[in-house]
Structure formats: structure tokens, C-alpha cells
């Protein structure tokens, strides 16, 4: 790895065409307070002067070939530190062209950038020669693959630019992207995790949440951010944030109390269940949480009462106040709840004996 400034920034200083995806925070160049780390193959990591990683970029000089002709492609691709596609740039004068050699319009550049931002396209399962429908008299020759764009991909390529779209998509989601993701994963620390979790992009945040590890050292701001994600209205973020709760947080009774209150407020079943699993996995429950749970039991649905009583059993919550509250459930109008309460009380009596 080399610290690299001159060549990396030299290219970036040239006037160019730029297309970046929406919400691609953190890509804009600030030469005065940045430095660059080279990984070879014109792949660079951009860092702020204090060493915070910002993004990756790579310069490609390659060719897009079809009809036995190749057109050179001079382009820079940008990724976030988690490997998310951010955008592309080309030197002024360079342009992308279609099969009839017409240059891309601005609308088509935007369409291309939008396509490149979608990692879930069938390109990954399509081979180069499958981009065009094979004419009846097809042979293995490259000349023969100039039929109409295959039905399978016609909606996901820039019209008359299937090869260019495909080639760039393969570059975006190729070896470099894998390297970037692995590099960041390996060097993940609280600081760059915060960068990821504070991203404007939802996929980036999900990446951060699914890569949180118990071995990281956790900070107050990280905990605050995690709580805000747990309480997010976006249920998928909330679900992943609950899953990401590190073991160390489960020792924190205040955090567990917040988690329980979030449980009471979230309408999403998947998140609720994940929260209860975390509460069960905690070494112990704080007194405040137990008090709040007792106060809530009357308003709970039968299946929630079932979960709560299991939580009490797991953590041996059987103080006299709690036992009295459970005893009152014997008068519950629902026989299922009555049976649950009786089960809890029976086990409690057995333990006392």
C-alpha cells in the first residue's frame, strides 16, 4: 500500500463528466485535506487528513468490443468504503457511445448511472454472448452476435448500448468491489463504522449493521446511533439494528430498558421478536425494566404475555410483586392466559421447594 497524492489527484484535477447517484455523500474532492492510498491497478482509497476513509476510486482504460470492433473506454469509478457504487467520471472529451457510435445523451448517462447503482441485476448470471439474440444462422464468431438486444436484459440497459452497460456493470461489481468490501470489513473500527451508519444511503447503513462485530470497541455516539436506528420507522433498518446489538450493550440496564420501551412501541412483529430475543440473551434485567414490564402486562395481547412470562422465567424474575401481578392473571378472561400464568406460578412454587 502506498500513500499517493500526485497521480491520484492529477487525474481528478482534470475537467470531466461526472455522474453520481443520489445521496452519494462523501465523494466530492477536497484536495487540500485529503490523501490517497494506492492498492495497485489504479485503485485508490481517499482519506481525510486525519485518516478517516472516505471512498474508493479506480481508473479504467479498457475497451468495449462488439461487431469485431473495440472502442476504448477511459473512466473512473467511485465506491463508498463499503463497496457501494457512487458514480463515475470521464475526462472532458471522452464519451460513451452506442452501437451506431452515437454518443450518449445526458439522459442516457443518468440512466446508466442509475443502472450501475443496482447490484441486483441479472447481469451476474449472463454471459457476454447472451446479450444479443442469436440469429438463426449463428456461429461462434463475434460477428454473429449483432442481433437484437436479448429480451431478458432490454429493460436494464441503455438502448443500443447493451455491451457498454454490461461491461461497466461488471467493472462496478467485479473484483475491485469485492476487494473494497473485504478491506473495509478487515479494517472496520468504531470510527469508520460510524461513517457508514451515518450515511444517507439505506443500503450503506444496512451494510454497517450487518458487519458490526462484538470484537469492536463501542462508543457512546455509536450506541446513540444504534438506538436511533432501532427506533426508526423503517422496519428493515430497525430489524437489522436490533440484530446488530453487540453483547456488551446487553450488560447495560439503561440500554435494555430503552429496548423494552421500543418493543412496546414498535408495530412490526419481526422487530418485536428480535427485541425479545435480545432481552432473553441479556445476562440480567434491570429493576426499572421489570417494573415497566409489570405495568404493561395488563395491556398486552395474549401472545405478548406468553413472551413476557418466558422472559421472566429465563431471568428468574420472581420477586413478590411480580408473582402477585402474575397471580392476578388467573382471573384473566382468556383461558390460555390463565394457563400461562398457572404455568409460571407452578414453576415458581417448584423452585421455592
Amino acid at each position: 500500500m502506498l500513500y499517493f497524492l500526485a497521480l491520484g489527484s492529477c487525474y481528478l484535477l482534470k475537467p470531466k463528466i461526472q455522474y453520481f447517484v443520489k445521496k452519494s455523500d462523501g465523494w466530492s474532492v477536497q484536495f487540500n485535506n485529503e490523501h490517497y492510498i494506492s492498492f495497485g491497478d489504479s485503485l485508490f482509497l481517499r482519506e481525510t487528513s486525519d485518516g478517516t476513509p472516505k471512498s474508493f476510486y479506480q481508473h479504467f482504460s479498457t475497451g468495449v468490443c462488439f461487431d469485431n470492433q473495440c472502442r476504448p473506454l477511459d473512466i473512473i469509478l467511485h465506491w463508498s468504503i463499503s463497496g457501494r457504487y457512487l458514480g463515475f467520471e470521464m475526462p472532458k472529451g471522452e464519451f460513451l457511445s452506442k452501437t451506431d457510435h452515437d454518443p450518449f445523451s445526458r439522459k442516457e448517462y443518468l440512466q446508466l448511472s442509475e443502472i450501475l447503482s443496482n447490484y441486483d441485476l441479472p447481469f451476474k448470471d449472463i454471459k457476454y454472448h447472451e446479450l444479443m439474440n442469436q440469429p438463426e444462422s449463428s456461429t461462434e464468431s463475434a460477428d454473429a452476435i449483432s442481433g437484437a438486444t436479448s429480451e431478458r436484459i432490454k429493460d436494464i440497459v441503455v438502448q443500443n448500448a447493451a455491451y457498454t452497460t454490461y461491461k461497466l456493470w461488471k467493472l462496478v461489481y467485479g473484483e475491485s468491489q469485492k476487494f473494497i468490501e473485504q478491506y473495509t470489513e478487515k479494517h472496520l473500527n468504531t470510527s469508520n463504522l460510524m461513517t457508514v451508519l451515518n450515511s444517507q444511503d439505506r443500503n450503506e447503513i444496512v451494510w454497517g449493521l450487518t458487519h458490526m462485530r462484538d470484537t469492536l470497541s463501542f462508543s457512546i455516539p455509536l450506541k446513540t446511533r444504534l438506538v436511533s436506528l432501532i427506533q426508526s420507522d423503517d422496519y428493515y433498518l430497525s430489524y437489522n439494528a436490533v440484530h446488530a446489538i453487540p453483547k456488551t450493550y446487553l450488560n447495560d440496564s439503561d440500554f435494555l430498558e430503552i429496548l423494552f420501551l421500543s418493543y412496546l412501541n414498535t408495530p412490526d412483529t419481526s422487530t418485536k421478536k428480535a427485541m425479545f430475543r435480545k432481552l432473553k440473551a441479556a445476562p440480567r434485567l434491570g429493576q426499572n425494566l421489570v417494573v415497566k414490564s409489570r405495568q404493561s402486562i395488563g395491556a398486552m395481547a395474549p401472545q405478548e404475555i406468553s413472551s413476557l412470562l418466558k422472559l421472566y422465567e429465563k431471568h428468574s424474575v420472581e420477586d413478590s410483586v411480580t408473582v402477585d401481578v402474575v397471580r392476578k392473571l388467573i382471573n384473566h378472561p382468556n383461558a390460555y392466559v390463565v394457563n400461562l400464568a398457572k404455568g409460571y406460578l407452578r414453576k415458581h412454587e417448584n423452585r421455592r421447594e
Binding site: 440484530h243 412483529t269 419481526s270 390460555y336
Partner: protein, 452 residues
């Protein structure tokens, strides 16, 4: 001691020693009385027949309402198509970025996903192919979790039994249920037919409908011993391509099921019908014969010489048999337009999906933001009392049924039917007379999503 006496003595000592060295149980053999079928009578609040996709959920829900609940299942485990049939990727619980079916069905799916170490995909992203939002589950886990939840809810599960007579007398259902060595008369306040075939509705004397030609069933299997990418398909007859390709399919975006393999391969079984033991036996035999023939033929093909079966389900999964004639029949137009009813209790989201002749599937996708609904009346047979159905035999025309039959929709129906039955007992009136809003409110309390 004479020679003879000595030999007899030694023999008797030997016999004694052997007996002394054996555990007592080995000599506990006794003559037993001739085999007799045990006959009994039992009472319950809600009787559910069929522990498949809908029936399992109905039973858990009925138990959770506090009703005394009995579940009859003719097989050995719960889950039906989801487990025994091998369609272990239930769906669809989400539509257009939002969850539309939750409740007990979703709770079970979630528990199976979590216990298998899997994670849910991002349902807010609308996939190009609807089936990508089906959730892959480990069927073994699902079976055990379903049973655990039934038992926790106090459900009396009766495996290996099937009703042989159904009568309505003095406001109660009398169902004779026969199984291995048992014959039980079950007296129930409410009866829910979750057989998928409207079998109990038919036995009870209610009208049921059936198409002249029904969709084929599927026997689910997986095979190994070949690499699809290595095959020269130009040398393999077209009719084998689907089987070879389908077997290799895995969802690239689906996160659930990372830790379990869900087979996608299936052979069609024309005329498959699980209504009676005879028709079900025939469906299973045909399925196995078709698969055996396919394997033999495939092994003749270049690159497929080492193909072998790696798993096969024990039963042919069935798509279509009988439907009830209900108080309301959901039409295809109702379904594709997302019609809402005053008594809508549950959603359903799937394309119209008719497997026609085994060679093609007629599909019609719902337009953006359209989600179909299921009214309570479609679960109540005409002229019935204290009787509901849940699952694919609901009242619907053929095309609507081809979409309504899928698992998440059946789970939603199961929960709705059980809550309705429970309220009927509480209010002392037949399901048709229960105020839909009362059912809706109760369903919400139990975590279900009610159309609005």
C-alpha cells in the same frame, strides 16, 4: 449320580444361569387380549380438521383465544404443503414494500428463520419476480415449532386420524374420527374445515364445486450429480431443460434460507387430488412413477450420466381440488382489482397463477399497489351453521382461487376463521351473524393485519 441325572442337572443349572443373566423385561412376555378399537367420546369448543398450512394456524389461534381446541391431522406432522409437500418457501407476506399478512403464520415463519440462523430480506425493495419475497424456511424446524405452539396453546392434536362421519345435532357438531386403533366421537361447538379439499363441508352436506380438469400437483425433489453450466443444452431435448435448470435454482437476493437448502425441482402430477385415501395414494404413486421415469431418462443424456436423487418429499403437493359454495364467491375481477369488502378479514397477494396443462402457466400480475382481500363470507358455506373453512377450498372462482391458494393467504385465513369461530362461541351465534368489525378488532389484538 447317574450319567443321565448329572446331564439333566447341568442342563437345569445352565437354563437357570441364562435366565438369571437376562434383564427382567425380556421375560415379561404375556398373552394379550385380542386387538380392539378404543372407542371414546370427547367434547371441545373448536374442532379443526386438517393440520396443514391453514389448519395449523387456525388451531394455534383458537387455542390462544382460550377456546378448548382439537386438531385432527391425517398425517404425522403439521404444516401440510409447507412441510410435507416440500413447498418450504411460504409467501407472500409483503406487497409493494409493506407487510400485508402477519399474525401467527408470520410468527412461525420468523421463528423458523431465526432458529435456523437466517435473516429476513429487505421487503421494502419490490422485486421483479414476486416469488423472491417468499421466505425460505427449514421445514423440519417449522414442523417442530408449529407443534410446540399448538401444545403451548393447549391444542389437543390427533395425528393419524380422519373424520368418517359429520353430523350437526342440537347446535353441536358430532364428528366421528377414526385412526389407528381409535374411534372417537368429538362433539364441537364450532367446526373449521382446513382439509384444503372441502372434505368436511361435503360430508356435512354443503355444496362443493370442482373443475372438470384441475391443475396438476407437484412432487418436490432435488437431484445432484451434474453441473448445469457444463451441459451442452443443444444436445439435450428441450423437454428436459426445465427440470435440469429448475433443480439448480437458488434465489440470489433472498437472505432467508442461507443455511438450508430448499428444493425447487418438481414433477407434475396430473389430476392430483388429496381428498380421499384412494385419490391421495394415486397422486403419490403417480408422482413417484413420473420422477423415477424422469431420472431414468435423464441419466441417458450426455453430462447427466451421474444424476441422482438427493431428496424427495413423501407426498405430492396438491394445487386444486374442491371449493365450497360460500356466502360470497371471490371472482378473478375482485382479486385483480383489489376489491375491499365490509367484512374483509385478511389480505392475499399473488399473481393469478393457473398451471394449465403442465406445459404452461397462465399468470396475471396485480397492478402496482393492488392487494386482494378475503371477506369473511367466503369462508362460510351457504346454509351452514357454526361452520367455517380456511385454506384453498374457500369460496372463489377458479382464477381467483389460483392466487388465493398460496400459503401466506391460507395462513391469514386460518387465523381469521379461528377468531371468528371463537367469537361465535362467545356471542352465542353462528359465524355469519357475527359483526365483522368485532372480528377485525380481535384479529388486530392477536397481531393480524386487517384490510382497511
Amino acid at each position: 449320580m447317574s450319567k443321565i441325572k448329572r446331564r439333566a442337572l447341568l442342563k437345569s443349572i445352565g437354563a437357570f444361569s441364562v435366565a438369571a443373566g437376562l434383564p427382567g423385561g425380556l421375560h415379561a412376555e404375556t398373552l394379550i387380549k385380542p386387538y380392539r378399537v378404543k372407542e371414546s367420546f370427547t367434547e371441545t369448543d373448536i374442532l379443526i380438521v386438517g393440520g396443514g398450512t391453514a389448519g395449523t394456524i387456525a388451531a394455534i389461534q383458537a387455542g390462544r383465544t382460550g377456546a378448548q381446541t382439537t386438531l385432527i391431522e391425517s398425517g404425522s406432522q403439521l404444516g401440510g404443503c409447507t412441510t410435507t409437500g416440500g413447498v418450504s418457501f411460504p409467501g407472500i407476506f409483503h406487497a409493494w414494500g409493506e407487510q400485508i399478512i402477519s399474525g401467527i403464520g408470520w410468527e412461525l415463519v420468523l421463528d423458523a428463520v431465526e432458529l435456523n440462523g437466517d435473516q429476513l430480506p429487505d421487503f421494502t425493495k419490490i422485486p421483479k419476480s414476486h416469488w423472491k419475497h417468499q421466505v425460505a424456511i427449514n421445514p423440519a424446524l417449522y414442523v417442530m415449532l408449529a407443534e410446540e405452539k399448538c401444545l403451548e396453546a393447549g391444542v389437543d392434536i390427533r395425528y393419524y386420524e380422519t373424520p368418517t362421519s359429520v353430523k350437526f345435532e342440537n347446535g353441536r357438531w358430532l364428528v366421528e374420527s377414526t385412526g389407528k386403533g381409535v374411534k372417537t366421537i368429538i362433539s364441537a361447538k364450532q367446526l373449521i374445515d382446513c382439509t384444503g379439499n372441502a372434505l368436511i363441508a361435503s360430508m356435512a352436506g354443503y355444496k362443493v364445486l370442482r373443475e372438470k380438469e384441475t391443475q396438476p400437483g407437484s412432487l418436490v425433489y432435488s437431484m445432484g450429480g451434474y453441473e448445469f453450466d457444463q451441459l451442452d443444452l443443444s444436445k439435450i431435448p428441450q423437454r428436459y431443460h426445465r427440470a435440469l435448470h429448475q433443480n439448480m435454482m437458488t434465489s440470489k437476493i433472498r437472505k432467508t434460507g442461507e443455511n438450508t437448502f430448499v428444493p425447487y425441482g418438481y414433477v407434475y402430477v396430473y389430476g392430483a387430488d388429496s381428498t380421499t385415501s384412494e385419490t391421495h395414494t394415486m397422486a403419490n404413486q403417480k408422482g413417484r412413477q413420473n420422477l423415477l421415469q424422469l431420472i431414468r431418462e435423464l441419466r441417458e443424456l450426455r453430462g447427466c450420466e451421474n444424476i441422482r436423487i438427493t431428496s424427495m418429499k413423501t407426498e405430492t403437493a396438491v394445487r386444486e381440488t374442491f371449493r365450497i359454495e360460500g356466502l360470497y364467491k371471490i371472482t378473478k375481477e375482485d382479486y385483480v382489482s383489489g376489491r375491499l369488502y365490509e367484512d374483509s378479514l385478511s389480505y392475499s397477494f399473488y399473481p393469478i397463477d393457473l398451471h394449465r396443462d403442465g406445459k404452461s402457466i397462465y399468470q396475471e400480475f396485480l397492478k402496482p399497489n393492488i392487494v386482494a382481500a378475503i371477506p369473511m363470507r367466503a369462508l362460510i358455506p351457504k346454509n351452514s351453521e357454526n361452520f367455517l373453512v380456511a385454506g384453498r377450498c374457500l369460496s372463489s372462482d377458479r382464477l381467483a382461487n389460483s392466487a388465493l391458494r398460496v400459503q401466506a393467504s391460507c395462513m391469514g385465513m386460518g387465523q381469521a376463521a379461528a377468531v371468528t369461530a371463537s367469537l361465535s362461541i362467545q356471542e352465542g351465534m353462528t359465524p355469519a351473524k357475527i359483526a365483522p368489525n368485532l372480528v377485525k378488532e380481535r384479529l388486530k389484538e392477536y397481531g393480524a393485519i386487517v384490510p382497511s
